[in-house]
Symmetry: C2
Subunit: 346 residues, 2 copies
Amino acid sequence: MTTSDTARTGEPGRSVSVKDVASTAGVSVGTVSNVLNRPEKVSPATLEHVQRTIEQMGFIRNDAARQLRAGTNRAVGMVVLDVRNPFFTDVARGVELRLGTRGRPLILGSSGQDAERESTYLDLFEEQRVSGLLITPVGKVLPRLRRLRERGTAVVVVDRRTGSREFSSVAVDDVRGGRLGAAHLVESGRQRIAFIGGPRGLTQIRHRLRGIEEVIEAHPGHSVQLVETATMDASAGRLAAEELLALPRKARPDAIFAANDLVALGVLQALTFAGVRVPDDVAILGYDDIDFAASAAIPLSSIRQPREEMGEVATDLLLAAIEDPTAGVRDIVLEPELVVRRSTGG
Amino acid sequence: MTTSDTARTGEPGRSVSVKDVASTAGVSVGTVSNVLNRPEKVSPATLEHVQRTIEQMGFIRNDAARQLRAGTNRAVGMVVLDVRNPFFTDVARGVELRLGTRGRPLILGSSGQDAERESTYLDLFEEQRVSGLLITPVGKVLPRLRRLRERGTAVVVVDRRTGSREFSSVAVDDVRGGRLGAAHLVESGRQRIAFIGGPRGLTQIRHRLRGIEEVIEAHPGHSVQLVETATMDASAGRLAAEELLALPRKARPDAIFAANDLVALGVLQALTFAGVRVPDDVAILGYDDIDFAASAAIPLSSIRQPREEMGEVATDLLLAAIEDPTAGVRDIVLEPELVVRRSTGG
DNA sequence: TTCGCCGATTGAAACCTTTCAATCGGCGAT
DNA sequence: ATCGCCGATTGAAAGGTTTCAATCGGCGAA
């Protein structure tokens, strides 16, 4: 590590307030505030004059004071499970897109699946009095979410359903996703499917598996087995694939359905290393359809989740709840979509 | 899209202030504030009593008021080039880790390489009076950064150098990275290197190329060519690789050095599709060493940039500048590291 | 010329926390 | 019994914006 230094001094320099602008422009603070917030209430001449003064003095509104007065922060908070999973950054992008046009900043936090970090973010958002919260919950946060709502913060649950009908939510139909994938594999002539993902307790895993089973049961001679993993990243996929490779050749699956694309990429790596041909010997199907799926050495077929759309819809729900706190709870379920690429013989 | 509705009403419910706590607990607001901020100044009995009252009443500090009084927001703002590139989320993680332990929230924005979005975030951070700003600049923002600093916001440039010696910065030695990579390729017996990346104007591209050229010049019989791309994502890599595949066989490079891992993944995909064997026919070397590099079908060798460390170091610099605004400007240069995997014959 | 009206402008109050000079109360020393 | 001291507590002021009732000024109508 190399370092180089240079001397330098920085003077804070008191910042310009509406009061300063008002006195310089020769108007009252009320008028300056009107120029800022209701320009149509101000005569054209004054408007022009004050705006020029603001410009010249380099006045920048102090958001803390604004918030204090308003009682609520225009910002929206979001807690995702893991920013390192492109799935969530894409959802967040959808949110940001929608909020940006409404002049509402997004404060994004990643819980990293850790209930404690999640809780820290909730503390922060509570102190900040954010007007809305988007969350994919990890820990037992229902009581806190209730409290937030009592205090006037709108809450929408993303990529989960609360079941309790207390909070609006946006999720994707996982049973359908499982069905779509299984149907595709069966139609491509695969008979023994291994579904890799976990932990088993996750609703999403259970639903997807159920969708797969429905299809399998309708097709005699086909089978599915769950290979459970503790996490859902590439190394989990690698390990699970190695487990399958250890099986006697005839007991091996001819199709692997991964619970997300990261796992699928790990599987692809392990199979490639072992010299197994994809898709000839084994087909691989991912889930989510993150950008990396299309960029894999052998482009991955995947069940596409409408990620940005999920963010957008969640934001719409949230904005509606912010603007009208009496709005009803809504659970929106989006549809997944099959994307066929080379890894399943596309 | 399926929807289901349920009626529900939410009452805002005025929030509890220090004044409320004070009157309920039978003490003054000053004491409540001391309990919150300087508990050692309060007698044990009072402390205990007030804390219990706070708990019971569900008091949550209003951060806007606190900020207003303090004159500055404890939060730190960060503008990265692209949250969808894991490189930046990793840097951000480093930042968050360091800040989290200091009780400072991070407000993260992604400019998406768009000067206008960058500017919108700077507006936001200015209004918020954030105490510090970490930025990988896109547009011409020097005047704004100067203004921010005049107003008392500490500024550190990340993954770039300003050259002007006005702002502290943290970057990685790109010439060195180019040298490391080229040396490795030459040592593995490769002779004709194609360096894929761009646009050519980027300092980082120029520096890395210079490092490569230094090595090539020291090894007669070896050559390097730049294949310029407009962006640095997987599709750019795919296109560039196809361009190379169109060359007569003997003119083709036997090693491809990609300017980042996304490009390298695109290259790997195109070569795999064309039946070119990696690393036997062509070696591929990436840059950054994002997690996906290790998870590729053929694990990618890469020049590892210390991403989290970069975030941590930048944060340390920033915190130092926040705590002591007279601190000098420092340009810190971190060292990259070669990580050998299968794509170059590891 | 005076009155009434209306749009434009004003200025004080409110939002909530933190800070700090001033005050209080208790105790040991004289 | 009184004084002085010290730790604990108090209460008012400050910070910048927004809101809104009150006021101002100008103009048309009577």
